[in-house]
Symmetry: C2
Subunit: 357 residues, 2 copies
């Protein structure tokens, strides 16, 4: 089913309004979800709307948060999201980082007491639009085992770096720090397909290609897959995200991160509040004139796009470019939704007494 | 051969003094190299001294640089290293970042016109000693191909994040963004051993286990090894390092980065000056009280150290812990040097008319 951006956007806003979100928050949260769908990151868009609603029903998401700055210096701050949607808490934090960068060159905000913040790319693009370099990361429900362990202690903990270019779209590196994102596993489960070796291990710590292994005590592997191929680096990156997002802000970290799904209870012995994010912005002209930077980044992109390739039909992909192409295409032609998602969304419409899709 | 830290340190200082470095620069450059040897990162210590000397002989390293700040805001700056040793230029940049962080909460410095800066960990530890979070990265000679390419366009571009803990040593994540560091390949070459699949490809872009493939047009692979296992993420991280270190500062980037070895000429069409680094520091108490942060990071470490493991004799390794253990042991027992390195060092002693080891 192909659905136009504007129809899906107002449907999504109506759901958030029905939860009791303010007009402003409903519009912002919808914008974050729609951005994922437009950019082709279907796992992080409206497919997750039902997840947010269930957490709200379980009183684990506060639809009317009083988001506050609990600590700050000229260029750093800690924000408490008051258990609000990460979809509104993270943009609040990024706006603060951008304000600090406007005044002092850079701004850095660690966030506690939040929830899932959608795609990291959304938040970094806010900085890029101001000719700044954007950083965003978040911790997440524990699914990933550190190197040498068979215990789920870390989330897929994405990190994102974004840079404004000149004639090209911005370079946006937005990546889970696990070998494979959980969304890819879900697709394999749905299709009944095996996954490549190196994505997951079973509960004893053996590599397995069964995408259902995660449900029986298995775990995702860090980027690098095993020690020989650098999984300690993926573990280190994931640890960096966890520490900057949660140990620094006062959120839950490691195995204490509350699960995103409502049917699993959060740990009974929390070490902080909610989940954590970390965002930052640096003015490009804090280092060199914007025009110079952009023309050199354009030159960088041109060189990499023209690299000699292994297969004639597969060019080097500049990070962020496929998503930008998807966005242009989906704005024009609409957003494809699979039946299961449409069914979930129309179930929500019925629950709240609003028009179905 | 086991050699005491103090003997190796004064030997190394004498070499730098013979090159014409000031007392202060000779002591600092030696401290950076010795730190690598003490921490067990033998590839980045005095084994590289001969490489620095040869570049100096070729007039590609300036022993008496006038390091300057060419652009700045309260929390950002660009530094020109005047073609000096990265071993002194990067600490200059990190001191500046720390000063800015002391005043404004955070400080970020991009560096151009520099050379190899030793281990990234050295520079981040400078921040950690001030109860700050340290960041350091550098670009390097092109050896790594981006995903889908068989062309060497990126260095092993390391990134390092460091966090001060309480009762434990600091957490220091210091990693090449390639699947394997070049040093590991050199060891396999020396021993005549094959390397695992996923580290390198031949000039056509096929996986190979021949460690000499790099000499015949092959390339290192990004962290993740292939697309299916996330090599586009390793490519993205390496790109991030290249852009922050060089596109932002005005250094050479991508395939234009000058080679570290003196027998290869730098590209005839440079796009900037020398190689680039990026360093940063953030005050922990810019986010939450230092004591709180450290006690939670200790709790994080304790939890990960006690994780259930796949093999009974292999615990989860906290990043930075093995290096700290090596340092304690080598300070006590001395630094092991292989014969080839001793021979190189004594060759330098003869060249400069100083006492051999």
């Amino acid at each position: 089913m192909l659905i136009s951006e504007s129809v899906l956007r107002s449907f999504t806003q109506n759901i958030f309004l029905s939860m009791g979100c303010s007009d402003e928050h409903a519009a912002l949260a919808s914008d974050v979800l729609l951005k994922a769908d437009l950019r082709g990151i279907d796992s992080h868009g409206v497919a997750r709307l039902i997840g947010y609603v269930r957490l709200w029903e379980n009183k684990r998401i506060n639809a009317c948060p009083n988001i506050t700055i609990v600590h700050e210096t000229p260029t750093t701050a800690t924000v408490d999201g008051d258990a609000g949607l990460g979809l509104v808490v993270a943009p609040f934090a990024m706006r603060l980082a951008i304000q600090k960068a406007e005044q002092y060159g850079s701004g850095w905000v660690s966030v506690r007491n939040s929830n899932h913040f959608g795609i990291a790319g959304y938040h970094t693009i806010m900085a890029v639009e101001k000719d700044m370099i954007g950083f965003a990361m978040t911790n997440a429900s524990p699914l990933v085992a550190p190197t040498f362990s068979n215990e789920r202690l870390l989330g897929t903990n994405p990190m994102c770096y974004a840079f404004p270019a000149g004639k090209y779209p911005p370079v946006i590196i937005d990546m889970a720090t696990s070998a494979a994102a959980n969304g890819k596993l879900e697709i394999a489960q749905r299709l009944g397909k095996q996954v490549p070796e190196g994505w997951i291990q079973d509960k004893e710590g053996n590599f397995t290609t069964d995408p259902h292994a995660l449900k029986s005590g298995g775990s995702l592997l860090p980027l690098g897959s095993d020690r020989e191929h650098g999984s300690h680096k993926g573990f280190g990156l994931s640890a960096t995200v966890d520490i900057l997002s949660a140990v620094l802000s006062g959120a839950n970290y490691g195995p204490w991160v509350p699960p995103f799904v409502a049917f699993l209870e959060p740990p009974a012995d929390p070490v902080g509040l909610g989940i954590g994010h970390f965002v930052g912005a640096m003015r490009v002209d804090g280092f060199r004139p914007v025009g110079e930077f952009k023309s050199h980044l354009d030159n960088w992109i041109t060189r990499f796009k023209s690299a000699s390739t292994v297969y004639p039909d597969q060019k080097v992909i500049i990070p962020g470019e496929p998503e930008m192409e998807a966005e242009a295409q989906r704005i024009k032609n609409g957003i494809p939704l699979v039946d299961a998602v449409v069914k979930d969304l129309n179930g929500l419409a019925e629950k709240f007494g609003i028009n179905p899709l």
